[in-house]
């Protein structure tokens, strides 16, 4: 059964995001250029320097029954919602081993988050302090452990080939999908459900990111605050949610007649080796990841027409990424329609790679690149290096094989680039 270079395809997608409770409504919001950012109305927000965020459009407790929801961290709730959608979208109606057309020993789950069950940890610490030891929930450990979302999704689908949680801050979701692709390519699994999730809209992470000067303080204009590539960009806006895809070997998908959205071509990974939080300003680490992607796959730069950029709306990071694309791809960069979808969803941290992989796959499937909103005055360095899709969605070539990249980078200097293409 084992082989080392099998073709991997995407057969299912699911999401719950600031733009919608599923992949379809999220995609609709992205193409329409809608912002999911809002003013934080919670009492605790009043004393924060940052008082905006992008909460999910549909509260998970509206979807998950209460007894189940109360024993899941919010990040696991998002992951389960997105995973259920992706699993059903792939045409699977049951768990592996209970009717679904997949061997549980050949099914994996790889769901990641950047921070894990941070709200559970902090809420239960409040319980400990205010109500005492006895009242701390016995569900605290399985709720806060960073592998909780992955383990819960694994249980949902009946995955026994391996359940993994790569953690690399804001690259986590992309690294999870890359890991899933490799599990199939190398023959460890035939099907992997993979993605990212994050739920960190809580006073402590917001205070901490705010004090790092990493977040936008544009409290007066929530919907205009996330503005990648704009001269006035002043940091990211925290978003929450999850994006999950079903990866499958091409032969497994063909055998059961599954609909194929796109091929998951592969990944390129590197580390900056530069600073714990600052991006390397010339994008050298990112270039290295892009070069690894080209070296490790049969991706043809001439076929790349779209990049879902990392583009968090921070002064340094946005441009470094575009310089790296130009450095590696040269004139081919001219035919990349570059989209910064965090302008609409905010930055979902470890969930970003999941949601943006869903967006990238749908961009290829529908042959449309979503816009980057809020660019009033484009940074000349961005304009010089890339063709940024501004204002409105743009049609991609209607014919021929096309490919797209999804970039994700994380604090710690982690760089992950995923490539997808039409089939």
């Amino acid at each position: 059964m084992s082989s080392t270079n099998r073709t991997v395809v995407v057969t299912g997608i699911g999401a719950t995001t600031p733009l919608g409770g599923d992949a379809a409504s999220t995609w609709e919001g992205l193409v329409a250029g809608r912002s999911g950012v809002k003013a934080l109305e919670q009492e605790w927000a009043a004393e924060q320097a940052v008082r905006i965020a992008a909460p999910v459009a549909v509260e998970p407790t509206e979807v998950i029954p209460r007894p189940q929801a109360r024993r899941l961290d919010r990040s696991a709730q998002f992951a389960l919602i997105a995973a259920k959608e992706a699993w059903a979208d792939a045409g699977y109606t049951d768990k592996a081993g209970e009717g679904a057309d997949v061997d549980p020993n050949r099914l994996g789950a790889v769901i990641a988050s950047g921070i894990g069950g941070v709200t559970t940890l902090l809420d239960q610490y409040d319980v400990l302090k205010e109500k005492g030891v006895r009242r701390v929930s016995p569900h605290t450990v399985p709720m806060l452990m960073p592998n909780g979302p992955s383990a819960n999704v694994g249980l949902l689908v009946g995955a026994r080939a391996g359940v993994h949680t790569p953690v690399s801050a804001c690259a986590s979701g992309a690294e999870a999908i890359g890991y899933g692709i490799e599990m199939i390519r190398t023959g460890r699994a035939d099907v992997v459900i993979a993605g990212g999730t994050e739920a960190a809209i809580h006073p402590l992470p917001i205070a901490a990111f705010g004090n790092m000067m990493a977040m936008s303080k544009n409290n007066d204009d929530p919907q205009g605050a996330s503005r990648p590539y704009d001269m006035a960009r002043d940091g990211f806006v925290l978003g929450e949610g999850a994006g999950v895809i079903v990866l499958e070997s091409a032969e497994h998908a063909a055998r059961r007649g599954a609909r194929v959205y796109a091929e998951a071509v592969g990944q390129g990974i590197s580390a900056d080796g530069h600073d714990i939080v600052q991006p390397e300003p010339e994008g050298l680490g990112i270039s290295h990841a892009l070069q690894n992607l080209l070296d490790n796959t049969d991706l043809n730069p001439a076929e790349i027409v779209h990049v879902n950029a990392h583009a968090t709306s921070t002064p340094a990071g946005d441009v470094a990424e575009l310089k790296a694309l130009r450095k590696v791809f040269g004139d081919d960069t001219d035919h990349f329609a570059v989209s910064g979808t965090k302008s609409m969803t905010g930055h979902l941290l470890g969930g970003a790679g999941g949601v943006e992989s869903v967006a990238t796959v749908l961009a290829l499937y529908h042959r449309v690149a979503p816009p980057t909103i809020n660019i009033d005055n484009i940074d000349p360095e961005a304009e010089a290096n890339a063709d940024v899709v501004r204002g409105e969605a743009r049609k991609l070539p209607v014919e021929g094989r096309i490919a797209a990249l999804n970039d994700s980078f994380g604090f710690g200097g982690h760089n992950v680039v995923l490539a997808f293409r039409t089939v």
Binding site: P65, R66, P67, Q68, R70, R71, R134, R135, S137, P138, H139, P142
Partner: protein, 82 residues
């Protein structure tokens, strides 16, 4: 004022409903927490802590394993409530 058997069963029914989502009318004296009411070992700890608070009673961990049914818990609370 000490709770009656009826009040304790009703209170446990509310707690089990909150924790496991079981309809209150299904929570009867002869029902097993794990086999009939979908309360696993971790959730049983939650039921016990909620019952302690509601009925002003202490239920040491060593005694929890003897509380298999709603009737067991009701009798325990009747006997030990403050």
């Amino acid at each position: 004022m000490a709770a009656t058997q009826e009040e304790i069963v009703a209170g446990l029914a509310d707690i089990v409903n909150e924790i496991a989502g079981i309809p209150v009318e299904d929570v009867q004296l002869d029902k097993s927490f794990t086999d009939d009411l979908d309360v696993d070992s971790l959730s049983m700890v939650e039921v016990v802590v909620a019952a302690e608070e509601r009925f002003d009673v202490k239920i040491p961990d060593d005694d929890v394993k003897d509380l298999k049914t709603v009737g067991d818990a009701t009798n325990y609370i009747l006997k030990h409530q403050g």
